[in-house]
Symmetry: C2
Subunit: 516 residues, 2 copies
């Protein structure tokens, strides 16, 4: 299914689960489809990649979500399809009055939507979206919202980790060929928000206003060999066409025996003509060891500044290992390890775009309150697992910064509390009755309100930041984390707390539900 | 990026890597862009999910690939974008003559494409696509082909495993909300080809001609509670609207204490009115244990036939565990284990659509031959890892069936060999010089040619089978596998062999390249 008409059908308002529509019809029939409800979207845990795990996430996806909500309507095509769905008894599953409402009255933007800002650090069990609006609309948009934001947050998080393990060096997203199908489209976007500087993906880069990047493939050298020519001929031909963008893949035959020496010959020719060679790419073998030896050869040939691009199934741990090995080995070969580390750049494919090790963010979307006679009635879903019992009610989220201006906790409170004025500020553990922190005035630098209104009264009211603007927010937020939380392995747990009032509400509701 | 215009740009012909375009321009400049080349697409290994791995794959994606090739053209939008890409020196990166060729002369279908048939069993290191055509076209379509087929084959394989572990019971794909973004669109398609019977994904089901399926969410019960009503009220309202499709989620409050008893009351009402209740869904807790107890309650109430749908982070191992536990425990509670197993159906989300445990198929696309003076010149890419050294040359693929009509090996041979007439048939190990099997005439039932022409002379010539037709091929192929290869854990390795002639060519080329 890649025909453009099919793709638009499958990615429009019907990017939803069947039960959203059957539930919406039930609410319509009962006349409660426009009752105001509140849903929270949050994820339960940071990605766990097996032997390593994340200490925080980078939120991404809002721009795409707003685009989707903006265009999602039930048109002729959608209504026609729904009209022909049958019950098991052969009756129309959806009735004409409901279809009429979908076609004429439904608006995906008929909600108040509060969201985080893309690029910001976010934490488990803290709402990253709050949707407040007609019950039926809140249900119908659930699936698309989760689809768009769960994945982009997952990939942005992975990209941030890879960028961090690469000591902030240039990171190129190379994953289109191994991505999960058209997930690549927004996967590329998320990789760019989280940590990649460029992508090889031409179409996605185009739409996002980025220049796609790349080198060349082994096949280019093979073509020349197949025509009876040499690796050097291939490199020279490439350099002739791209004299100012000459990045050569040197491992088709023998990296150190032919690839690097041939690249150096071509670089010398370029230099004579006044061009600046860009670099070489290593795509196989012991990347740390070969990069040291290649760096030595390039240094000795007078090219201490050209990049060494590493690729081949990289992720944050492999990059960490490579850098550690360089720090330990390079000096022995007469290469300055820090200089080498700062000339490395990375092409990361499969493991970034698929978030290898943890291929889904466990984001959920839960009904937390429903309006009755103009009052919010909090709703609860109890779980046998206490960690999975919902935080009920209409809530707001705050981030508390300590005297060092480090983020010390996210605080989830009820909507009518202004925690900025509470001193001491009580941070209640989300599940343990006896555990709480009290912060005095002198322990708090400032408190920030996190969720911002992005849709209000049917209109998108959010600014649309550029990706570089998102990078600024990301870098500020990551800098404000305790180094223990930033760690790639065994990170400290960041505190996510409840206000005393929310804790008391939750406990009262649990007691009441159990007693019923 | 979810605007329909952006989506179409990013999923059209620009669903490619930048280096494909820069290499294509080089070939254009050298006048070799229309030289005929052959590329093989194959995957190196079956998915390995960590503690379990696949013994075979189910091929999927061809239909989508053909749709994509059919619509992929460089139009004004694409050319305009490429025209404005700049080299590092500020010059246009792509020259007008090359852009003219892309716009006027490029056709993504200007290749002969040979492919497997969707739904069929496929094995590592056997070409699943052979692309034979103009060098520049072969490069430009590489990325899209890999993107589309790698992922669909990955998911179809996972779906087949889940279906198998579920003893063939009804399987519903529920993963849209946790899928990798728009990967879900074709992920749903692949899940259906591989093993799912239905999906909750409305849009994808629509396009594929399937009826989407679903139950209801916890939120529906919460809404009624929030309005001061009860779980029973919620169930009854749902049953009133969907009397012939009544499937109730029973774990919002207390599965056995309230959910199942309330469902039974509603089912009794339905039965009185002549309707047939469909089932209950269990989404939390010890699913095996609770399903036994729920089955007992339903049996005693006179509903031995209603389904019990299981969901909640299922995969093939979890389902295997559930069935094993039922086989061990059910009798003790007075429930027939086999009857219970045959009333279970499964809703599988995240772990199916993302192929949890192994989130990418390692499919590669390699230049294996180039035509020079109307002769095929095989090309090679040597790797330090012998398993990764290419099988060179223009090749064909055969499947050998033994006297039991079981598939005993896939045989990769050169294009001008007809292995159907060779007796004894030599099956050479792909990497070990001394290892080969010789099959005499009486050991072979028949030999089947696997790759079929799907594009020829610029036209799509393949039939487009329906998904049920793919199921028939899938079931035949799986049935023809040795049970050891079908095993979900520790499967036997299926034999993939080279013909003697291909083996000899490969060795000669390795020697020649190393000597050069």
């Amino acid at each position: 299914m890649m025909k453009s008409t099919d793709l638009l059908t499958a990615s429009g308002v019907l990017l939803t689960d069947q039960y959203q529509l059957t539930m919406a019809q039930l609410y319509f029939k009962l006349g409660i489809h426009e009752t105001t409800a509140q849903f929270d979207h949050f994820f339960r845990s940071n990605p766990d990649y097996g032997i390593h795990k994340a200490g925080f996430c980078i939120y991404a996806g809002l721009g795409s979500l707003l685009d989707w909500l903006d265009e999602s309507v039930f048109g002729e095509n959608e209504i026609h399809y729904l009209r022909h769905q049958k019950s098991a008894a052969g009756e129309p599953l959806f009735k004409e009055d409901f279809l009429g409402w979908l076609q004429n009255d439904f608006s995906a933007k008929a909600v108040n939507l509060y969201a985080m800002q893309e690029g910001r650090v976010v934490h488990p069990n803290v709402p990253i979206h709050v949707v407040e609006g007609p019950l039926a609309v809140g249900q119908i948009i659930e699936t698309g919202l989760l689809n768009i934001v769960n994945y982009q947050t997952l990939v942005a998080t992975k990209a941030a980790r890879i960028k961090q393990s690469a000591h902030g060096q240039l990171l190129m997203e190379f994953g289109l060929r191994r991505a999960q199908g058209l997930g690549a489209v927004n996967g590329t976007r998320a990789a760019l928000i989280g940590g990649a500087d460029f992508s090889s993906n031409v179409g996605a880069s185009h739409v996002l206003g980025f220049t796609p990047k790349g080198t060349h493939a082994h096949s280019m050298v093979q073509v020349f060999l197949g025509m009876g020519q040499s690796e050097l001929d291939a490199f020279q031909a490439y350099a002739d066409l791209y004299p100012d963008d000459c990045l050569l893949l040197v491992d088709t035959i023998d990296t150190l025996g032919s690839g690097v020496p041939n690249a150096i010959k071509v670089f010398e020719n370029l230099k004579r003509k006044g061009h600046r060679p860009v670099g070489i790419r290593l795509d196989s073998g012991d990347l740390a060891h070969i990069s040291i030896k290649a760096a030595k050869m390039l240094n000795e040939a007078g090219f201490p500044e050209v990049s060494i691009v590493l690729s081949n199934d990289l992720d944050e741990l492999v990059i960490w290992q490579i850098i550690t090995q360089i720090q330990e080995e390079a000096t022995r070969y007469g290469v300055d390890p820090e200089k080498l580390i700062h000339r490395l750049t990375y092409g990361v494919g499969t493991k970034l775009i698929t978030s290898s090790g943890d291929s889904a963010l466990d984001g959920v979307y839960k009904l937390v309150a429903i309006s009755q006679q103009n009052e919010w009635v909090p709703t609860l879903k109890i779980s046998e697992n206490i960690d999975k019992t919902l935080n009920p009610g209409n809530k707001r989220v705050w981030r508390v910064y300590d005297q060092r201006s480090k983020a010390t906790a996210d605080l989830v409170a009820l909507y009518d509390e202004d925690v900025r004025n509470q001193r001491p500020l009580v941070l209640h553990h989300p599940t343990l009755a006896t555990k709480q922190r009290c912060l005095d005035a002198d322990e708090i630098d400032h408190i920030e309100k996190l969720l911002i209104p992005v849709i209000r009264d049917g209109e998108i009211v959010a600014e649309r930041p550029t990706i570089p603007e998102m990078w600024a927010m990301r870098d500020t937020d990551i800098e404000a984390l305790d180094p223990g939380v930033r760690r790639i392995m065994n990170p400290h747990t960041y505190h996510v707390s409840l206000s005393k009032k929310l804790w008391d509400l939750k406990q009262a509701m649990i007691q009441k539900t159990k007693a019923a």
